[in-house]
Symmetry: D2
Subunit: 344 residues, 4 copies
């Protein structure tokens, strides 16, 4: 049994961590912090947790108390983990950061997209990008994990087999992504109101989105060279779920794409390559730490289409964070992540 | 470890049983039957179950194979359990029926509301109504359980404390109930289409609904006398959830209603009396085997209002069925039912 | 052709006025005010209006410019019309107030429910409650209209025939109301987010809601005596629509209730009594200025159930405001209100 | 005033025609046919039409009665218009077919995609593809109109300016399209249930969809040469709306794309080029006969992205049909199509 802390637990990734950890046999939540809600019981804010965390209350962030934990999750806006991670690591606490603070290896690129200087460039060297399907062994040894973003998870998993095998033109990749509204967080903004976002579909950030450099960095690793990506996210009238539709131009005769995908993820517990001809639905992963994939080659032509679905709050955030924790502490990789998706 | 069978597993209560039992440490699903889908793997019909039941396929109902199970769930239209339950009981298999076949104690009332003769009146004597909050001890000894309907569960739990204490006029009860569309099942009917049921609200069955005699029977037990109930169900544009708003006329000064409710359910693991002044949301029980209640007395007048929410597929069907199983076999009552609700 | 102004046009009732008035053959929108959005074109905020109001922009409220209009609508939070209405009336401009400022005849009751003194008690004497089905003749002569609230419209229209005929116990009325989220306005509040309000149902204000005194005032007029009302509103996961389910206890043999309702509203252009046995859906009035009603007497007992549906933004607000305008200026009562509801 | 008939009026495009024609000053609906619902009043099936078509009832299709109309709309499954159109044309009735029967100029391609021989190849020569933005003058003279499909409308309008100007590689076009569920019609199918389609997103027909040859035919006309298109439709949890996200590779420096789009559609009453940087929402066209477009060039690179939204039942079907009628009979092109979209 280990003790964990959660910094910034009032958002959707915070409550999702609590939901998943309630089922984890080897983890106890020692502290959850929130300046704005200090003193409030988590189950008063999130009544689904009544009966599970009846005593746990939000507290002011206290480095000493957090430093007494074996691991601390950051479920915070960007910049917060920069300020605290170093001190926690010095105290021997491992850090799993769900924010974007340590996802980009280049501090200058980070500064450019986030509009402020990087607050802890000295830690970038040891931060590990927490995508187990690419970096499982490094994650096992890591002290500091940057949990991938939701779009980046769906896009990278879908394109990895093709880029690693060098089958598509890496300069002209297209990721048309559709996300449920929890991807925009729990902030009270007009465009996220039910009256505004329901019964409608729209693109946003078509000219540039912060997840672009993160995705590109990962795809470069897979392609072992430069990549060009057009990434258009869309707001979809549902609570959870990401559907990434990925397009690549084949550079030659690709062989059996279905077999390629199945082999690439044969040993991956949380990537499910669907049977040939499938169209995965986001609801098939609702609440579950799974990415389901299907690969199509319409009309046997030179364009390959990959369909990739995740729950943005689970495999796209909190579930992946728990998967990283399991790897770091030698737990069963399924611990806390065993439940099937909720369907219907 | 016991072996269970599921008869009629293609509907929503069937797949929900599979979802819950996947997390049950002492249960193995031996067989799931469907005439129409025999031979199809359950995970091909319900992809959320991929990775959980990869080998399990629907099979033709076979009394011998079912009779080799310790318990069999019926997730069938009415009439099916009538035909099969007797034979299974003779083979020593316990029966947990999610349909309406054994809910009414009076075979003639059943025949009147269901438009056909009761098929197994000889079993009515031993059938136990599976509402643990009323009949826990009888459930422990039962061979044949009639799992309560979804509306009846929400309404009875909300009115029990008031009727048992004799505080309200039992002749004029009102239950205004709102249900998500899974309550109408998985049948392909025009009114259940997203294009018809979404962005709309309507009552149905205002002049009479099959759940009325079942609710009345339970309320009579609680009131220890006749009751009069006006029950108006409404179709609500959501997948899961029932919200019952219950109105009763106080017959005198009632004392502390909040304390009354808290005491009545103090030992109930799956009934949650919310703090005074609360308004429970259906999403707070999505996927979980919980009924959350709140009691109000507007303007300190003579009308009491009880708010009662459940997930119709869990505490209103499959979860309650598993709770009954746990009681019948001496398992921890929480087994398979421990996960928090999915929120958001 | 008359000129109208709209004060506070950024909310949902403001844009809905513009949508309806775009189809009105005798009205030109001269000015629309908003302090926060002054200078912004309305079609930049509400792109559905592109091609209809390409030049109209929000402006600072200017009494002189507004006073040059024949009529001014207030689509404002409470208190604003108090401050401005008097001056406009003096300038000869008629005022149609969609807020609650002039709905209650008693300034002290208003002060109690709205937590501040009434700002224009001297105008209460001439303010007319704009429910045409009760006050059509007075509306024709009025200078100052208080447009009824959304819940009050649905509840009063449903109960009027029964109370006027003295058929039900006026001391124990129940109104169980379900509203779409636009009823909560366009304010950026967490509970109104799609991620919070979708896939869920909850009651609110069960112990008291500001619409209660307004509804009670109207029902007293109809009953010609005191009334007792329990009013429980519910937040429903849809954009538009109110479904009021109304319960009354019959005090004697009521005769033909269907005929009673049909006769009461025979000459009403915007009240539709559905055939006996109907269950009106809110979507059948989406975007239309109609109230559809059905009356039931379950089991031929002593409880009568009325189902009443409106679009909260149309017959519950902006459409009713235009209907009042039409009456005040002698236009066809259907002008601007002729389009069928949008279904599906 | 002309008389029109509607064949096959029980589906969503049929009721939408009635909704729009109720506002058309020069059209009277003389007959609406349905074998299955003959004798039923349309307002009993579609209560939004109560007060608008109180006497109109579905009737058996009668060529004589239909032939007495000035124009007949077909809102039928494919194959029906093949059988009837010729006879009506002989009687002097103009035909506006909303089905796919006359959209493809090549009868063999039609037979291949629809799995049956073309039933009226002799009429293909005079059938005009009813996209006014391409064929307005021919439409004015036409006797037989093939109304474009919903996806084809959104995709063609978005790509026309680029293909006509020869700016993009016509061999590698991508159309990632998202549709509300009314696109699947009113048939009672399990995947269209609210419980199945809500809170989820999925692609379908990724390997080939019947709209592909129709879109390709139109794009070839625009490009004046062969085109290669990858078309992936997605089912989106909303009632109405199509969002097409279109990707093309620039073949050179394209100049001012915003100006190109604005000029191409400057005289089009129902195509709205949004300001540079916009992201049109489908709700901004809900119920309205408009296509809103935005053009982006992310990172100033060689990929152009066009966002195109329509209401699939209006500009994607019934509204476009009325627009064609207006052109054919010399009416104001806006007649019956003047109302703003319903938003929120």
């Amino acid at each position: 049994m280990i003790k964990v802390g959660i910094v910034g637990g009032t958002g959707y990734t915070g409550v999702e961590l609590l939901r998943l950890l309630a089922q984890h046999p080897q983890v106890e939540v020692e502290a959850i912090t929130s300046r704005s809600e200090a003193g409030v019981r988590v189950c008063d804010m999130y009544p689904n947790l009544r009966g599970h965390y009846d005593e746990l209350a939000f507290s002011e962030p206290d480095p000493q108390r957090l430093g007494a934990c074996d691991a601390v999750f950051f479920a915070t806006p960007h910049g917060v983990a920069h300020a605290l991670a170093g001190e926690l690591l010095e105290r021997g606490t491992r850090v799993i950061d769900l924010s974007a603070d340590f996802r980009l290896r280049d501090a200058e690129v980070w500064a450019e997209w986030y509009g402020q200087p990087h607050g802890a460039p000295e830690l970038l060297g040891e931060a590990v990008y927490g995508l187990p399907e690419m970096h499982r062994e490094r994650i096992r040894q890591a002290r500091l994990i940057a949990v991938p973003g939701c779009y980046p998870t769906a896009v990278q998993l879908g394109l990895l087999p093709l880029l690693e095998a060098g089958l598509i033109d890496a300069d002209h990749l297209i990721a048309d992504c559709k996300s449920g509204v929890t991807g925009a967080g729990r902030g009270a903004k007009v465009p996220s109101l039910l009256a505004e976002a329901s019964e409608s579909m729209k693109a946003y950030g078509a000219s540039g989105h912060r997840h672009l450099p993160e995705i590109s960095q990962g795809l470069r690793d897979a392609a072992n060279g430069p990549v060009g990506l057009t990434f258009v996210p869309h707001l979809t009238p549902m609570i959870r779920g990401i559907h990434a539709t990925l397009y690549g131009r084949l550079t030659g005769e690709p062989g059996d794409l279905q077999a390629l995908f199945e082999q690439r993820f044969a040993d991956e517990p949380f990537v499910d390559v669907m049977p040939a001809g499938s169209h995965p639905e986001t609801r098939s992963v609702k609440g579950a730490n799974v990415c389901r994939l299907a690969v199509h080659r319409p009309g046997n032509g030179d364009t390959v289409v990959v369909l990739s679905v995740i729950d943005n709050l689970v495999k796209g955030a909190s579930g992946q964070a728990v998967q990283n924790l399991n790897l770091m502490f030698g737990f069963d990789e399924h611990a806390g992540l065993a439940a099937p998706a909720l369907m219907p």
